[in-house]
């Protein structure tokens, strides 16, 4: 009858995303790994950082990583919609408009880099900017859909955070920070290929050229084993550097032994055997890979604590 007659319940599909939808746009689970590895990179560095500067720096690194996640979600909305694992993400599910994801991604990326430069130093900020560019452009827009090596090279994006954390403290790069980078870089292929072995139809449906799709399962199993061998050598080697110590070395020996065993088992079975037990070995290897990375970085932190307490003076 009049203006007051408007019934708001008539609005059937309110395009009003909740706050949680925006939070999920920034991939909080990926951010938590970034926060942890960047924090370890910062804390194991030989230069002490003021707690406020350290806290703010980690926050801005996490924001940068989240923003690159939003850009990834904007670009990949079409294939995310097809894959079960990603269909409920805010952009493919229609909760957040693609333009909003793009706008937020770019704005927060720029903001996080500028704020890290102000809070810490220009080198750390430049490294963060490169990380965002690498993940959003090199990996998401270029490699992911064009080569089965997508995970190998794209894994570098996830490997930069401890280097950025180290750069916040020291203003530079060192053998230790490069080895921390290499640990995550070499860990990424076995981790994702194990996932791809038991999520194969998802990637195939979306047309993502995962190694499992382009070269088959047997080749992927061989590659998992090769990368795990190289990773193990490097992971144990890190224990003998200035940031290593007894806790890390012990953890690395146990974890790499288990990881090698898992990779060997994956290497020595075929798809028929895997189908028979519902990919039990591959799933177990994938779960172990999550703990593997967490414990390696946790052990580095443990040794840094020993050094801080004066209980460990290094190998020399």
């Amino acid at each position: 009858m009049s203006d007051t007659g408007l019934d708001h319940t008539m609005i059937q599909d309110p395009a009003e995303p909740g706050f949680g939808d925006y939070v999920r746009l920034f991939k909080p689970r990926v951010m938590s790994l970034v926060v942890f590895t960047a924090l370890v990179g910062l804390l194991v560095a030989p230069v002490q950082v003021h707690p406020m500067v350290g806290f703010a720096s980690i926050l801005f690194i996490a924001l940068g990583a989240g923003a690159s996640g939003a850009l990834n979600m904007w670009w990949d909305a079409d294939i995310d919609q097809i894959m079960r694992r990603t269909a409920s993400r805010p952009v493919p599910s229609g909760k957040v408009a693609p333009g909003e994801a793009l706008g937020l991604g770019i704005t927060i990326s720029v903001l996080s880099v500028i704020m890290l430069a102000l809070a810490a130093n220009l080198f750390a900020a430049a490294l963060l900017a490169f990380t965002i560019f690498f993940y959003a452009v090199i990996y998401t827009m270029w490699l992911k859909r064009s080569t089965p090596q997508n995970i190998v090279i794209g894994g570098a994006a996830g490997a930069f955070p401890p280097m950025v954390g180290w750069a916040v403290a020291t203003g530079g790069v060192s053998v230790e920070s490069v080895l921390m980078f290499a640990l995550i870089f070499l860990w990424t292929p076995p981790h994702f290929w194990a996932l791809a072995l038991f999520m194969k139809s998802d990637y195939a449906d979306a047309g993502v050229p995962m190694l499992t799709v382009t070269h088959g399962h047997d080749a992927t199993r061989r590659q998992i084993f090769i990368y795990t061998v190289i990773l193990s050598v490097l992971a144990i080697g890190l224990g003998f550097t200035a940031i290593g110590g007894p806790i890390y070395l012990l953890a690395a020996l146990v974890l790499n032994g288990l990881f090698l065993l898992g990779a060997w088992r994956i290497r020595n079975r075929d798809t028929a055997a895997a189908e028979a037990d519902g990919y039990a070995v591959e799933r177990k290897f994938f779960r172990l890979s999550l703990i593997y990375l967490f414990l390696h970085f946790g052990a580095l932190l443990g040794d840094a604590t020993l050094r801080g307490l004066g209980l460990w003076g290094g190998w020399a």
């Binding site: 007051t4 007659g5 019934d7 708001h8 319940t9 609005i11 706050f19 003021h50 703010a56």
Partner: protein, 65 residues
């Protein structure tokens, strides 16, 4: 008749509160960083060697003005 509360309003309010908290947090971080950097002297101009040795600074050259 206006329905005072719709699910849409709840979501919008939640979003506004979230953005408000984020902005307040951002201000607190910038303030905290500023306090730390000012108190530890990050913004002080670099001192010249002459000043550090305790000698008087050289007089400014005279001009024709």
């Amino acid at each position: 008749m206006i329905q005072a509360e719709h699910e849409l309003h709840k979501r919008r309010r939640g979003r506004n509160i979230g953005v408000g908290v984020l902005l307040a947090g951002f201000i607190a971080i910038v303030f905290g960083l500023t306090v730390v950097k000012v108190t530890r002297g990050d913004f002080e101009p670099p001192r010249t060697q002459l000043e550090q040795s305790g000698a008087a600074p050289a007089p400014a050259p005279e001009t024709d003005q």
